[in-house]
């Protein structure tokens, strides 16, 4: 909406700028503050005496002799075994993204090229499945998984996350494949390719923009998941997010709060970098059909 005719009044412009600045402060300051605080000791970041200590680093100076300390990080990563949790997160995320893209591209391509009625019904069912709260699905998994003795291990969680992710991936890639002209693969079929060959040689080279967007959303789902990973993995195999929760302890004053703070920063930073690089794809994915991941 750039109207050449629209002469905005100065007061409106100022108001607009102030509003945006306030909103950005609200949106970003909590993260900046947590990042800053993660380099302090607990007595400063959660100061009972004076919150100003978090800035002047009063206790951090006394306890460590410097204004910034990496204590919380070394504690969480080594003593708290956060390295193990992040290794598990990497395994889970990479597997979930690659498997769900593999299944999703094949399935969505078929859906987009089918004119049959059942394709429509499958999409509707996928929409219903997407709306299911994950916790209700987990309550369905636990009992059979205990019986089959596949509870607690990474492969189970990976398969579950892939499945939970499929409806969204299918919808996203379906709307993407709809924008790829049919004539492209139809001409290959006429030349004697099988559907699979057409997919392999004609569609695969042009599908990457859609695949990157879908991949980002699978990645965010797998990386951010709490419900499934917290309830389906045992202590040993916990990924980052349930691990952070375990640092909290049952109440505020047990557990190791500063570990949780540094773990939160460690877990959030890669995600922010990723979104910074792929902002365009994230936004196009959110608006495609306005279905959220």
């Amino acid at each position: 909406m750039d109207f050449g005719l629209d002469k905005k009044s100065n007061s409106l412009k100022t108001f607009n700028t102030i509003f945006i600045v306030i909103w950005l402060l609200l949106a970003c300051f909590p993260f900046i503050w947590t990042f800053w605080g993660s380099f302090k000791v607990r007595a400063d970041f959660f100061s009972r005496a004076d919150w100003w200590y978090a800035i002047t680093a009063f206790n951090t100076l006394i306890e460590t002799g410097a204004r910034f300390t990496k204590e919380a990080y070394s504690g969480a990563w080594f003593e708290g075994e956060f390295w193990k949790a992040s290794r598990n997160t990497v395994i889970v995320t990479i597997s979930v993204v690659s498997i769900s893209l593999f299944l999703g591209t094949l399935g969505a391509y078929a859906l987009s090229r089918s004119t049959k009625n059942y394709a429509f019904w499958i999409l509707i069912i996928a929409l219903i499945f997407r709306a299911m709260p994950h916790i209700t699905l987990v309550s369905g998994y636990l009992f059979p998984f205990f019986q089959l003795q596949i509870w607690g291990i990474l492969p189970t969680t990976i398969v579950v996350l892939v499945a939970i992710n499929q409806p969204f991936t299918l919808w996203l890639l379906y709307s993407f494949f709809k924008t790829v002209p049919k004539e492209l693969d139809e001409s290959a079929l006429i030349d004697g390719c099988s559907y699979f060959q057409a997919f392999r040689h004609i569609i695969m080279p042009v599908m990457w923009p859609g695949v990157i967007t879908a991949g980002l959303f699978s990645l965010m789902l797998a990386y951010n998941d709490f419900t499934v990973t917290a309830l389906l993995l045992n202590q040993e195999n916990h990924t980052m997010v349930p691990k952070i929760q375990s640092y909290l302890g049952t109440n505020q004053h047990e557990g190791n709060l500063m570990w949780a703070v540094s773990a939160v920063v460690s877990a959030t930073a890669p995600l922010f970098l990723l979104v910074m690089f792929f902002q365009r794809q994230v936004i196009s994915g959110l608006t495609a059909g306005a279905i959220k991941g």
């Binding site: 909406m1 607009n16 094949l106 049959k116 509707i124 929409l127 916790i135 997010v241």
Partner: protein, 342 residues
């Protein structure tokens, strides 16, 4: 595409969805009709020099044997659905006959665990959803009026609350709002009340979680509205400017009608997301004063003594019913879109 190739292309994705979404829903349904076994009690006669006593103890062997034979538990029919922790039909009818006024009745029913959670879940949905729409729309409008050159970083800053997982987002806010955090401490000074703390009062906890909800979900509404604003046609806007329409009138009569379908869609999607609120309750450690339906299920599943499969399943089924009610308009809309596209 012929059926045969369609089948092979779709088979892996379909199988995954049937096995891990379709079947679990059915399994939840079945589990909800079972309850865990009662412990088998036996009378033991114990004699010592002072005489004989009979006492009732749990027969561990028989209990574990029956558990092994029927791991699902005993059949309970709709028993779990109507017990005190769910619909509580007995209690509700007792309250109905005992209560003198309607407000007394509502107050009593509101204290039953399921209804308590339902009230919180619905309050959260009803307040957060419109706020999210409004805030998202205002941010989209304001950002749209800002120079294109600096929009990129601004959009990045705006969507940050949305991309972190709710647990992390709520923790980050909680650490600031808590009595020992920066905002909490300043509020204490401002209100001149050294014991003021979010956790101490139910109303404050609810407000905090609701504010968190708006903070977390608004960026999603913003992104969709922002994209929709780019598609608003220029000609009617220019014409209205020439006709002397104010900025507000332009938004009301041209922009809003144009993006109206998107607004309803965002509203329904965030309603569905808000209905399953659960992680912020853990992040804010607000279990004491705010419980949601999803939290009840989680609580049953992490129960330390024995996992209450039946109870969790019954709550799950009722949550699914709630979601279906919200989902119906979305489905109808998709249906219509599909029919017209074909």
């Amino acid at each position: 595409m012929p059926n045969r190739s369609f089948f092979w292309f779709f088979f892996p994705a379909g199988l995954a969805m049937i096995l891990f979404i379709g079947l679990p829903i059915i399994s939840t349904g079945i589990q909800s009709f079972y309850a865990q076994h009662d412990q088998i009690l036996i009378e033991v006669k114990k004699c010592d020099p002072f005489g004989c006593k009979t006492s009732v103890v749990v027969d561990q062997e028989a209990t574990s044997k029956i558990k092994e034979e029927k791991p699902l538990g005993k059949f309970n029919g709709f028993g779990t659905y109507v017990d005190r922790n769910h619909l509580a039909s007995d209690q509700v009818s007792v309250f109905w006959s005992e209560s003198k006024s309607l407000s007394e009745f509502i107050g009593k029913v509101g204290n039953l665990p399921f209804y308590k959670a339902l009230v919180f879940t619905l309050t959260y949905c009803v307040i957060v959803t419109p706020c999210v729409l409004l805030l998202g729309f205002i941010i989209a409008l304001s950002l749209n009026a800002i120079s294109r050159k600096i929009r990129g970083p601004l959009i990045f800053g705006t969507i940050l609350p949305m991309i972190v997982t709710p647990l992390v987002g709520s923790l980050v806010l909680f650490w600031m709002i808590d009595a020992e955090g920066i905002i909490g401490a300043n509020l204490q000074i401002l209100m001149d009340d050294p014991y003021l703390s979010v956790k101490s009062s139910k109303a404050l906890t609810w407000i905090t979680i609701i504010i968190y909800g708006v903070w977390h979900h608004s960026p999603f509404a913003f992104v969709v509205f922002y994209a929709a604003l780019q598609t608003v046609p220029q000609e009617p806007l220019e014409a209205s400017i020439i006709d002397g329409a104010s900025r507000f009138q332009r938004v009301k009569h041209i922009v809003l009608p144009h993006i109206y379908p998107v607004v309803t869609f965002v509203a329904l999607i965030s309603l569905m997301d808000n209905f399953r609120v659960f992680e912020p309750i853990i992040g804010f450690s607000a279990e004491g004063s705010a419980q949601s339906l999803s939290w009840l299920i989680y609580d049953n599943l992490v129960n330390e003594e024995v996992i209450l499969f039946g109870s969790a399943a019954a709550t799950s089924i009722m949550t699914i019913v709630g979601i279906s009610i919200i989902l119906t308009p979305v489905l109808l809309r998709t249906w219509k879109e599909f029919r017209t596209n074909r």
